[in-house]
Symmetry: C2
Subunit: 428 residues, 2 copies
């Protein structure tokens, strides 16, 4: 049953701590299976990828073809319903524009000793984007992963996506066309991630792999972190909504259910200061649920992981929200500013009554790939920076070396590193 | 034997590929041992930490004390040799000043639809810094890890450092004092990393763990990535030096040896366009080696992993350097600019004849924690950003929602997410 907690009750602290610590990530031990797949792809390359694809996706890549032709992407885009095409184009424009402002500035300056010091940002050469097949194949996810890479200046973007029994999702292909993807390869699972990370004859090696996937994909990325860069360790999605009684309960109910419908492991939490409003939202959830095509998933998630928390004043929610460090935080109140200023840990914040979280999923501009599972304590949403890296640089002339060299020699000697000391001392 | 390759020889491509792919990271399978230690600390907390410390470091924390008192840090600083103290203070000032310019700017703007969109950076609450005990206990490493965290505004920095048989390194303690470390805890190994990540009664949980360590420490960080943020997966250090014949061969020899002396797995590579100069550097290495207290390590590294590569023109080295993506790149030539512009992948670049890499290890200002093992293809040196995270935010008014809402509804419906669509449509 959906949890209901009142911060004025004596058992609240313990119950809230249990809510914070509840592990919604499956304990299923896929690590060993994934390690075996990675090893096979590293050792046997395309042969292993083809065999796993036959086994898991039920088609032979040498017959169905490894790649989806650019003409097929173009055609998927051209034959889209016009209103949908306009929506995708609007989303693309807004997402691109938001991410363009993320491009980092280089530094290059000379200090008072005459030393030139700076940092230069460059894009990675190739990025791999995982796009799930089946139900969770979202064109918005293609845009949110590909556009930051494009804006960063990545030379080549490879999409991998499983096509069970050869089936493709035209919306995803259209989004690939719009985002300017270079290649779409019909492979999925841990074997696709391994092929991207190690490179095979048919699948070029990439430097960074991003994009959502099932437990095998997530574990493959985790195991390959360090061999390649990855976006993040992703868990079930979550939302915290703070709402006062002046909201329409049905609005807030839909906001909560828009997370719940993603997956049974998703979590939706409401903070309010009004018990009557809490009842009204709970009733609205029950009323809306049967009307949703996604009712089964949404209901399981809401019953298992949903929670309604009553606080004396809404501002009291701030420290509790920081402990949850939610992926999404929606502040559906007249003046969201005090709570916005009081909260420190959240992936993305949606301010005011007119900003349902779904706006951020599609068209606002900021990235919808956000830290889950309390990781907003230490990590950020996907950005242009995930596809770039910084090279620092230093140039001494004789004067600058004379100014700082003796200190370097003293420290190197104290650390017992004589060649370090010598490399400086010889030049003084 | 130190490898010697000439790019004009027919076997060069294959030999260079072998050099690029050579794995210098130990294959030792510590993953299982580390997993067991993490589990024990997660389940048993301080009791496990104390037992491992007794076993690996040979002292009982309940007797020797878990923490090193702030007064002891202060005293270590006060009793330092004055020239060393001045060197540490100079390094601190320069490192702090460089990192202060890394602080990211927030964004907050209203677009043409009336939508307010932005991003806010905040520091993590607590950071853990691993400081190795014994030979590799470097005060410069304390500064390079702690100062970015301080500049980021981290509330609390915990240092863990093993003190085998209770012994401490006064230089490290002095650096902790200077960097403003909040706590120094006498624990090390995978158990210390686990205690920081999970939190125990005596060791507070942190959000990010950085700092160098042995294979167990590195593997513990890798396994805990996602539970906490980590700096990077670190491997043996490396340098590529590009030098023309106008350098003093002894200078270049010392530069190469300053990497070799770190560890037998370190790698030093020289690119030059002059065979006679290559011989002179090799001879200088042999001459300097016996004079170093670190000769044993340096000689093993240089013989096993060192290489001298002859190219026709120095600019030809650029694409080869990109394949190596070295941690350190030193361009010891009269005009380093063409090579500097031609190279894309390197952790840090040292320009001109007066900039030995060791300057960057201690006093230049940029961070010396840099990507190794070809990871400069996709990752960057440690920075203030590693201790911060970004929260995006969005605020629609009724007009902005009307402008973009219909597109969000269309996309949500196309993706089969009716609660997403409803949450927007209800408000239109």
């Amino acid at each position: 049953m959906t949890e209901r907690l009142d911060s004025r009750n004596p058992g609240f602290d313990r119950a809230f701590a249990a809510l914070v610590d509840a592990r919604r990530e499956p304990d299923a031990d896929v690590a060993r299976d994934v390690a075996a797949i990675l090893r096979a792809v590293r050792d046997d390359g395309d042969a292993a990828v083809r065999a796993y694809t036959q086994r898991f996706d039920g088609h032979d890549l040498d017959e169905t073809g490894w790649r989806i032709a650019p003409a097929e992407l173009q055609q998927a885009f051209d034959t889209l319903d016009p209103s949908l095409r306009d929506a995708l184009v609007l989303a693309t424009d807004r997402i691109r524009s938001y991410h363009e402002a993320q491009r980092p500035a280089d530094r290059d300056a000379v200090d008072s000793t005459g030393m030139r010091i700076g940092a230069r940002w460059t894009a990675v050469e190739a990025a791999g984007l995982y796009v799930p097949g089946g139900r969770a194949a979202y064109p918005s996810s293609v845009l949110m992963n590909a556009l930051p890479a494009k804006v960063a200046g990545v030379d080549r973007i490879r999409v991998v996506t499983p096509t069970p029994k050869g089936e493709v999702n035209p919306l995803v292909l259209a989004a690939c066309h719009l985002a300017g993807i270079d290649e779409v390869i019909r492979i999925g699972g841990a074997q696709a991630v391994a092929a991207l990370a190690y490179g095979t004859d048919r699948v070029g090696r990439v430097d960074v792999i991003t994009g959502p996937g099932n437990a095998w994909v997530a574990e493959a990325k985790r195991q390959l972190y360090g061999t390649v860069g990855i976006d993040m360790v992703a868990g079930p999605s979550e939302i915290v909504v703070v709402a006062d009684r002046d909201n329409d309960p049905a609005h807030i109910a839909a906001d909560l259910l828009s997370q719940s419908e993603h997956d049974p492991t998703s979590q939706s939490i409401l903070f309010t200061d009004d018990a009557g409003f809490a009842d009204a939202v709970a009733a609205a959830v029950d009323r809306i649920l049967p009307t949703l095509a996604t009712w089964d998933t949404a209901e399981r998630s809401w019953r298992a992981n949903g929670a309604i928390l009553l606080v004396e004043r809404l501002i009291d929610a701030a420290p509790l929200i920081d402990r949850l460090a939610p992926e999404h935080l929606q502040l559906a109140v007249e003046d969201p500013e005090p709570l916005f200023q009081a909260v420190r840990h959240a992936g993305s914040i949606f301010l005011g009554r007119h900003t349902p979280e779904a706006i951020g999923d599609y068209v606002a501009g900021p990235n919808h790939v956000l830290p889950t599972g309390r990781r907003a304590r230490f990590s950020s949403g996907l950005s242009v920076l995930d596809f770039m890296k910084r090279t620092s640089f230093i140039r001494c002339d004789a004067g600058a070396l004379a100014a700082v060299g003796p200190a370097a020699v003293a420290l190197a000697e104290a650390e017992g590193l004589p060649a370090h000391a010598l490399s400086v001392a010889q030049r003084l």
